[in-house]
């Protein structure tokens, strides 16, 4: 019961999803080209540190391609990471670091507050089905909450 309430209260949200990252992503979703350079330079290190401290939840054997440089492949880019509340792709840290792509203010505040993901890795990883489901809904342009 506690777990159900917790899940309901902590609805998972996908951050950093852009239409160019996969041909299956709803093309109505925001384009990365509108977000390049939108992250404050002072926040780049903090954001990449937080993103890279995420818990690997679902590892995908696909190399994603840098939307701005097709010669660059990011191993396991579509893999999913999470902090138990937010969900993001493994390649988001690369895109933030290299292109300073903008992120929602809510996520930036969250990451600045926590600095690194500190939740129980096993508990977060155990929610992989819910996390994959939320991500797939987001790919279709449907919010999971």
């Amino acid at each position: 019961m506690v777990e159900l309430l917790s899940d309901r209260e902590q609805q998972m949200k996908v951050v950093g999803l852009f239409r160019e990252l996969d041909s299956h992503i709803n093309q109505a979703i925001q384009t990365i080209y509108d977000m390049v350079g939108k992250l404050q330079v002072d926040n780049v290190t903090a954001m990449t540190t937080y993103l890279r401290s995420g818990v690997p939840v679902f590892d995908v054997m696909e190399a994603s391609v840098d939307p701005f440089d097709r010669s660059v492949q990011i191993e396991g880019g579509p893999s999913l990471m999470s902090d138990g509340v937010w969900i993001w792709r493994n390649d988001l840290a690369y895109l933030v670091e290299r292109y300073k792509v903008g992120l929602p203010d809510e996520f930036v505040s969250h990451a600045m507050k926590h600095k690194v993901v500190s939740g129980d890795k096993k508990i977060i990883a155990s929610k992989w089905e819910k996390i994959v489901e939320a991500y797939e809904l987001a790919e279709k342009g449907i919010r999971s909450d």
């Binding site: 041909s23 299956h24 290190t45 540190t49 890279r52 401290s53 818990v55 690997p56 939840v57 679902f58 590892d59 995908v60 054997m61 696909e62 190399a63 994603s64 391609v65 660059v72 492949q73 990011i74 191993e75 396991g76 579509p78 893999s79 493994n90 390649d91 840290a93 690369y94 600095k115 690194v116 990883a125 155990s126 992989w128 089905e129 994959v132 797939e136």
Partner: protein, 263 residues
Amino acid sequence: MLTWLGQAGSAAASSVVNAFEQTALQMYDNAFYSGLLGTQAPQSALYQSIVQNGLTGTAQAIGSNLINTAQAVANGNPTAIGSLAGGVAVGEALGGLTGAAEAGVDSAGADALASATNNIDELGSFTATGSQITNGSGITVVGSDPVSLRVASNVAPLNGAFDVVVHGVPYDDAGAVFSVDGLPTNANQIAEAILSNPTWNGQPIRLLTCYGGCGPVQELSDILGVPVQGATAPVGVPQVPNSAPIVRQGGQWLNFFPTGSSK
């Protein structure tokens, strides 16, 4: 059997798993911070701690120093060999360092490590382009990125099949290619990696490669002369031990047979 992690073998199984993972991730971070390869770091707990404390410069210095040491090892510098604690080489980034990797290691605990890590127990060799091949009992991993290593550790074996873990990337609407350490890689190199594993005895292969069923799988089947199973869409494995691989986006597993065979 190459047992570069043998020193950890007497520890509890969980510690061995963690040591294996962290060492592999540190090797990746070493290469990343020395500027040799990779796009996403830090991956290891050690480097994460360094960077989170604002010491990215330190991470770069450590990575560069280790790479320089490894290069010295490759050149036969005995002092450098001695400085590689436990014989753990950062040779993944350099290629041709398997001899150094073997120096100073023992075999105690290799079997424990093998069972604890889903039979991923040794650095096998390197592809012609210098990418790391990691061989275990019934499984070969091509590439050194953390995602591949985690998939190899977590995937549940398929009875009677030999697993091959290597990334794939779509190149057009119908096809895909292998991708190793960020570079397109042909099926011949993957076949050579499989042949380097002494535990592959001609059994059918399960290709843990996204879009593997869209081109690469048939080529691999023809080269090796055995049935190969590949997915028509992205393949993922949860970060939960002994998990079955999942084909996403409505894809499926398909079996391919050598061209001209009677199946």
